[in-house]
Amino acid sequence: MSHETLAVILFLTFVAGTLAITVWASRNTKDATDFYAGGRSFSGVQNGLAIGGDYMSAASFLGIAGLIALYGYDGFLYSIGFLVAWLVALLLVAELLRNSGRFTMADVLAFRMSPRPVRTAAGVSTIAVSIFYLLAQMVGAGALVALLFGFTSDFAKNATIVLVGALMIIYVTVGGMKGTTWVQIVKAVLLMGGAALVTLLVLGKFGFNLSTLLRDAADQSGKGEAFLEPGLRYATDASGLTGKLDLISLGLALVLGTAGLPHILIRFYTVPTARDARKSVQWGIGIIGVFYLLTLVLGFGAAALVGSDAIREQNSAGNTAAPQLAEEIGKRVLGDAGGTILLAVIAAVAFATILAVVAGLTLASSSSFAHDLYAHVFKRGQVTEREEVRVARIAALVIGAVSIVLGIYAQRLNVAFLVALAFAVAASGNLPALLYSLFWKRFNTSGAVAAIYGGLGSAVFLVAFSPVVSGKETALFTDADFAWFPLENPGIVSIPFGFLCGWLGTVLSKEYNNAKYAEIEVRALTGAGAEGAVHH
């Protein structure tokens, strides 16, 4: 049997299993709390795994392993930012959000401010961030199928995008948060298992000596010891000061963006208490941290055993480094059949990874549309829970359909920058609004609206005029050049700008509600009045 056939069989098994779970979950999805927050009945450990499943995208699995395989040390910079970011969520956001909100990020903002403007702003930002991220994942899925299963035709790529889109729509509309969470838990276990297995085999190959692995990786890379040092990918010597500032800008967006990503924030609502939210972030940190340590070995292992040339030959961005390594190490340790099996396993896991992440993004954006925009802005709260959930399901269908169409259209474009843009918007707009809301007594409606639109607007604006959109061979539009902003990552400008807008908007408005701040502060820190788990 070829690895393609086996991978397809494994992947279909995953799909069948998760669909069964989704149908089961739908029977326990009765009201809005079930649909949006999984009945708040997940344990800290379960939610910790789901956080891992939601967060470890194909970009971080295949992308970071590939970056390390091709550029060595610099790929590691990414993983560190992605991990450290969770401390912002743990220390400043998770528990307070769980205590003071219900279903969406906007709940926290609307608590003490004029609900319609802040829900509109938060809804727009949530949907924008989720669609940016979603689109990058969808296009990635189309590219992956060619690499992993050998289907190179446009038809196969488009069919894959349609399949991924259809599955995510089913997970979300049928299973709601419960179904989506279980898909993410299963995926997290499979991904950790697959990555750990390949890592162990690789380390065994080098006698569990990290230094030997690094030596061989440096030798095979053709770059020598520079491969083990920063500077081959980011802030290269040729890029000068611009490159260094770009590196800091990227680092800021990574570390501050996570705690503002809507699909991450809604995960904190799925547990019964703030204490469980704390516990789930700690589990998440443990799982994600271990995972990035595994990708470090995978990346250097791929450089040492597969070699940069062989990796570049398959995919110039290095996205196939992890699957290629799985095949190589399987072959060396277990013979040809071993190579086929391991490659198939990793390919199937990579697809499971995409599905779990896109489902989380679809849920976050459709929840925000139904709960924030439809129920509270359009209908001014005059809507039944039933109808709200019905709208959320329809929104998931529409958002899924739109991202399928955009994904197919964007297939030939280089949209990898969209993930970084999503992090930048989350860090520049959502995070300031959330933090001010939770910690600043004086903060008000105009401050929240200014922070979100200011952060979102400046990040999108700067990226539009950056080298990732035009003026470079690898840009979105290769035959135009309207880039005047020198950095690829807007964070170093847009994050302070978002915080500044929030401050300025606040002090320019006289609105000020001491009683409401007292209420949200007491609730956030003590858990008074917070909703518990739902028992049916």
């Binding site: 204490r275 709260g381 007491v522 820190l525 518990g532």
Partner: protein, 124 residues
């Protein structure tokens, strides 16, 4: 659900001004704020060194393991340590006080305003 339900009650203001809550907030911020400042500074130091101090980062320590790798791994260690320390801090010094205050708020706010899980039940 019908309305934005944020039952306003002066009980929150009274609790907020009380010594117990002031102490809870002080304890929470005394850990969360300095820890955030510390890990952000530590992380930015790492990023800045990666950009500006290549020679230093490339210094080999043991075999092919250099300072850059150790520095990166230390970011993992510090993240795990802060997460662990925070949970100890929260369980010992925040949770008991928070529970007591929660009880007080919910008792005096009455069933309509903030009974346990009350906010959600209103909508069913």
């Amino acid at each position: 659900m019908a309305v934005e339900h944020h039952p306003t009650s002066t009980v929150y203001e009274r609790v907020q001004q009380g010594p117990d809550f002031q102490e809870l907030r002080r304890r929470f911020r005394a850990f969360a704020f300095p820890a955030t400042a510390a890990f952000l500074a530590w992380y930015l130091l790492y990023v800045v060194l990666s950009g500006w101090a290549r020679d230093f980062m490339g210094t080999k320590v043991v075999g092919f393991i250099n300072i850059a790798l150790i520095f990166g791994l230390l970011q993992f260690v510090s993240t795990f340590l802060i997460a662990w320390q925070y949970s100890r801090h929260a369980e010992r010094t925040l949770d008991p006080l928070a529970d007591r205050l929660r009880g007080e708020v919910e008792a005096s706010a009455g069933a309509a305003a903030a009974a346990g899980g009350g906010a959600g039940e209103e909508n069913r």
